[in-house]
Amino acid sequence: MEISRTTFKQYERLHLSGEIDLHNSSVLRETLLGLLGGGEHVLVDFTQLAYIDSSGIAALVESFNVAKKQSLEFKILGATGSPLQVLELTRLVSVFPMVENEHNL
């Protein structure tokens, strides 16, 4: 997994790539909670993400909950393939604000 960070409109945009699993999901969790702790709106970019397991999904769920409590925006951008199927399987597509592409923001 690789995480890089840019700014897009009002969001801190996290570009995720590769695979997120039990071995590295804690890095994602700490990054997300750190951004939210700093009061940032977060856009999690799935465009280059090949795989995310339940521990990665749990990090997103926890972070989204924190964002809601702090009235911060938290959106997932460009989920396709296996990551989208995981979000569908867990019915989280109806929980997370999902955005197909950045033109919709």
């Binding site: 039990l22 804690s26 397991d53 521990s55 749990a58 769920v61 926890e62 296996s82 199927q85 019915r91």
Partner: protein
């Protein structure tokens, strides 16, 4: 591989491979060797000859630590759920994560609830196993088996003891798990309807031998009388060896 219980050979030249992301269903009647095969695949018993490779590792050559590492990539859902009776459902499901990872407890809680939601067991995490029905125990066992998103899932008789609606839902769930997580699955069952719905390929065992292996259509169209009898639920023809029968009745033995 071959397997024996004492002098009695129970698996004869069983040979098959399962591709990544494939669902292989192992079918056969009672006493066909399905459970014995599963025990060998899990490394609980060693073949008397031959070898078994999981994720490109010959399990006979693995030491205890290596086998434990391999088992972290495997999930096993036992027929009756096999939950620890002294722990709540939630703690049972979380156990593999607590034992094998250093994930934050918040992450573990959410992962367990995600899996319980998938199994339609939301809100049951604080109950004890004794308070669940047979179908719920099976689903809780499956939640625990997939809590670490294993690369390979072994599932013993997923549909046994379930009502038809729950059984169909479980079949759907198995297919969704494979689609979303690309899990490789070896599923032992004697439920034809379920096998035909979920299998990419089916291995049919008879008397410890592979009688047939192929896609659902190939198995359905098999010319093997034993397989057609299995599909059409006809009893096996019992050929009587008069001398052997008399010997068994008068002197015992097999």
């Amino acid at each position: 591989m071959n397997a024996h219980y004492g002098d009695r050979q129970v698996l004869h030249n069983v040979n098959f491979s399962v591709a990544e992301g494939e669902i292989m269903v192992v079918m056969g009647g009672s006493g066909s060797g399905k459970s014995t095969l599963l025990k060998h695949l899990l490394g609980l018993q060693k073949p008397s000859s031959g070898s078994i490779s999981l994720l490109n590792q010959n399990i006979a050559e693995l030491g205890r630590k290596q086998m434990m590492a391999l088992r972290r990539s495997m999930g096993v859902a036992f027929q009756g759920g096999a939950l620890l009776s002294s722990m709540s459902v939630g703690d049972n499901v979380k156990l593999p994560l607590r034992e094998n990872t250093e994930l934050d407890e918040n992450t573990i809680d959410i992962m367990a609830r995600l899996k319980l939601e998938l199994m339609n067991l939301a809100g049951f995490e604080d109950l004890m196993p004794a308070e669940l029905s047979g179908g719920m125990l099976k689903r809780a066992g499956l939640a625990r088996a997939v809590i670490m998103d294993p690369k390979i899932l072994f599932f013993d008789e997923p549909s046994a003891g379930l009502d038809p609606v729950t059984s169909v839902e479980l079949d759907e769930l198995i297919l969704q798990l494979r689609a979303a997580l690309n899990m490789t699955m070896v599923i032992v069952t004697h439920e034809l309807e379920s096998a035909f719905k979920i299998a990419d390929r089916i291995t049919v065992l008879f008397d410890g031998e592979v009688a047939a292996m192929g896609t659902v259509e190939e198995i359905k169209n098999s010319s093997d009388v034993r397989i057609q009898n299995l599909i059409n639920r006809k009893p096996r023809d019992k050929v009587v060896d008069a001398d052997a029968y008399l010997q068994r009745l008068t002197a015992g033995g097999t």
